[in-house]
């Protein structure tokens, strides 16, 4: 098993490299760059920008360098090892200001995601301040989805074609078919008119800037259910179908009969055998949760005004905020790959059949 995991880890490397290259290329693809659009925007408001100032900015962010050099520097900054940045934009192969050739050896360092042009802040900071709430929402949504979908899926399979099964199917398809943003609007309306919760955001206005306290936490809980339901609904509906289908496949199998002929009670039998087997394919979906943490439900987050990473990514892409967008796309892909690996390992651990194939 260790062998298998190591092999998978090794295979990840070229994948990640390829992803980073494509991410970077995509960011560079649209004509122009951040500075051009920045200058245009400024000029539209009537301000003029000095040529020298623009040139200085170009120099600083290597915008005039060839594509591959830009990519190389960007990658070097992202990696936790490689060449350290001496000052803004200078590496070992450059002369430092005094004209003395400074040289630094490659080694371990903190990854540097660069600056966001638009926010004029470190990318790490921008993502960092939003990642906590994003993770909270993602995990709560995941738990909500599973806690709802698995029991309903089991019920629907065991009572196939019962009234309950049909009712859940209809609800499920409505859930799947309703666009998330519409659901978001509906829930905002309900939240505001029935529960008096301020529409949008994760906090009431008075708590947005406040320090963490019990009251702020309670306020978070009061707001959290709307995004969780909005984001979780379609996932829940989908998962119910998957769980129901998986279990229906397992129920008529011989081993279920064998276990029943042993004298197990219906409930123990159900949970210990067919459900246990039917859950395995769901495990492979866990991998998708990780990338969801970054990109998760961008539109819902925009509509609900959630302080999560989704809207940040959207804006960065729209504005060609290169370092921010690049870092996030990269992070996204990275998490996808890691997530897939994690769910594979989990599956390997849970399903002896796969373990066996791996050995053979």
């Amino acid at each position: 098993m260790i062998h298998l995991i190591l092999k998978r880890l090794l295979w990840m490397m070229p994948t990640l490299l390829a992803i980073s290259f494509i991410s970077f290329a995509l960011i560079q693809l649209p004509p122009g760059d951040y500075l051009t659009s920045y200058i245009t925007a400024l000029e539209e408001t009537g301000e003029s920008v000095a040529e020298e100032q623009v040139e200085a900015l170009r120099q600083r962010y290597n915008l005039d360098e060839p594509f591959f050099i830009q990519y190389g520097k960007w990658l070097n900054n992202l990696l936790p090892f490689g060449f350290t940045r001496q000052d803004s934009g200078s590496y070992l192969w450059m002369y430092s200001e005094g004209g003395v050739r400074s040289f630094n050896w490659p080694g371990f360092k903190w990854p540097d995601f660069g600056m966001s042009f638009e926010w004029n802040r470190q990318v790490v900071e921008l993502i960092g301040e939003r990642i906590f709430l994003t993770v909270v929402i993602s995990i709560v949504t995941l738990l909500f989805t599973w806690a709802l979908a698995i029991p309903i899926g089991i019920y629907s399979a065991v009572r196939q074609y019962s009234i309950g099964d049909y009712a859940f199917s209809v609800l499920g398809f409505i859930g799947l078919a309703t666009p998330n943003f519409l659901l978001a609007l509906i829930f905002m309306y309900i939240g505001y008119s029935v529960f008096g919760v301020s529409a949008g955001g994760l906090f009431s206005p008075e708590y947005v800037e406040a320090e963490w306290s019990v009251a702020k936490f309670a306020d978070l809980i009061a707001h959290l259910w709307i995004p969780v339901i909005v984001i979780g609904t379609s996932g829940t509906a989908g998962l119910i179908r998957v769980m129901r289908g998986n279990l229906l496949d397992e129920l008529p199998k011989q081993y279920v009969m064998t276990a029943r002929a042993k004298g197990l009670s219906p409930w123990t039998l159900l949970v210990r055998y067919p459900v246990r087997v039917a859950l395995n394919p769901l495990i492979s979906t866990i991998g998708w949760v990780l990338p969801g943490i970054v990109s998760g439900s961008v539109i819902v987050a925009v509509v609900l005004g959630l302080p999560t990473t989704g809207p940040l990514l959207l804006r960065a892409l729209q504005n060609q905020d290169m370092y921010l967008a690049g870092s996030m796309v990269m992070l996204l892909s990275f998490l996808t790959v890691i997530g897939t690996l994690l769910s594979d390992i989990l599956l390997l651990w849970l399903d002896p059949r796969i373990r066996y194939e791996g050995k053979a």
């Binding site: 011989q254 064998t258 029943r260 042993k262 004298g263 197990l264 002896p352």
Partner: protein
């Protein structure tokens, strides 16, 4: 005859949208204590459903609609069809007093649990023992059914074993609580001939050791010849002939039994006669037939007698030999 189980007038039906399937349509059967009763018949004649009915493991849309199944225990008789199918009493009987093994050794064990744990689970369900004791007993029975290295095999998964070994494991599980009746539904059909012989020999051996009755379902008359004390021949949901294995092979009374014997290589009494498939095919299960259900395929069918009225009941040809043929009832000397 001292029986462990008596089935009377059993009807099990499946209620489908297309109509009602009379899978078991008036079966009468007695399973002798400590002996092997083989149930034979073409596929689809209701052998498996009869077996599942005994354990009350008929799932929707099927249901036992009539008849009785009485288990004769030392503590007294118990009517199984009167018990709630998944109630406590029925569950205590399943696996402990009446155990069952199935046709497909490849799929009859859970793929995600170790073989040993599945055997130990049966032990823990029916015997008051702790985990360690259950494990020890499981290992012991695995050794008893001839699994090499039972300690090592305990932690293996089904897919790590051959078909023969798996069927041994299934037998170990079924016998772990020393049942009085073992129902085996085509236990060797999916196995190689050599493995099949080994498994059958093992079953005989354990039967003697545990003094247990076996209800062996098969469509293979070779297996019958090897295993049976008594034979019940089923056709279209009913037993059409019942007798000792010697009588069935040497003096079959029902045309269907004769046809079955003729269709089997090397077993027929007149060795030179040609192998013959049974004419026609099994009638559609939704159909209702008057008279003897076999009349559509029977060479001796007598219009006006065989194709009208109720389905014929078994009648005694001699002690312990019963047949349901309407014609030979009239002229038993023909037999």
């Amino acid at each position: 005859m001292d029986s462990i189980l008596t089935i009377e007038n059993l009807h099990t039906q499946f209620f489908l949208d297309e109509g009602t399937v009379r899978a078991v349509d008036g079966v009468n059967l007695q399973i002798p204590r400590g002996k092997t009763l083989c149930v034979v018949g073409e596929s689809g004649c209701g052998k498996s459903i009869t077996a599942f009915s005994i354990l009350q493991m008929i799932s929707r849309p099927g249901r036992i609609t009539d008849g009785s199944i009485v288990l004769h225990r030392e503590e007294g008789d118990i009517e199984l069809t009167q018990l709630p199918p998944d109630g406590k009493q029925m569950r205590r009987i399943r696996g402990a007093e009446v155990a069952m093994i199935f046709q497909e050794p490849m799929t009859s064990l859970s793929p995600v649990h170790t073989v040993g744990s599945q055997i130990a689970e049966a032990v823990r369900l029916h015997m008051r023992v702790d985990k360690r004791e259950a494990r020890a007993r499981a290992v012991h029975i695995m050794e008893r059914v001839g699994m090499p290295d039972p300690e090592g095999r305990y932690a293996q998964y089904p897919h790590e074993m051959s078909g023969g070994l798996r069927q041994r494991a299934v037998i170990a599980m079924a016998l772990s609580c020393r049942p009085q009746l073992l129902i085996a539904d085509e236990p060797t059909t999916a196995l190689d001939v050599t493995i099949q012989a080994q498994i059958l020999a093992l079953m005989r051996e354990l039967q003697a050791e545990l003094d247990m009755a076996i209800l062996l379902i098969t469509h293979d008359l070779g297996v019958v010849a090897q295993m049976a004390d008594e034979v019940a021949v089923m056709y279209w949901g009913r037993v059409v002939e019942y007798g000792s294995v010697e009588r069935i092979f040497s003096a079959p009374q029902h045309p269907y039994t004769e046809a079955l014997l003729r269709s089997l290589p090397g077993l027929h009494i007149e060795r030179k006669s040609q192998l013959q498939a049974i004419r026609g095919s099994v009638p559609d299960p939704f159909q209702r037939l008057d008279g003897c259900a076999f009349h559509t395929r029977c060479d001796e069918c007598e219009p006006g007698l065989c194709d009208t009225g109720q389905r014929p009941l078994l009648h005694a040809i001699e002690t312990g030999h019963l047949s349901a043929c309407l014609r030979r009832k009239e002229r038993p000397s023909d037999g």
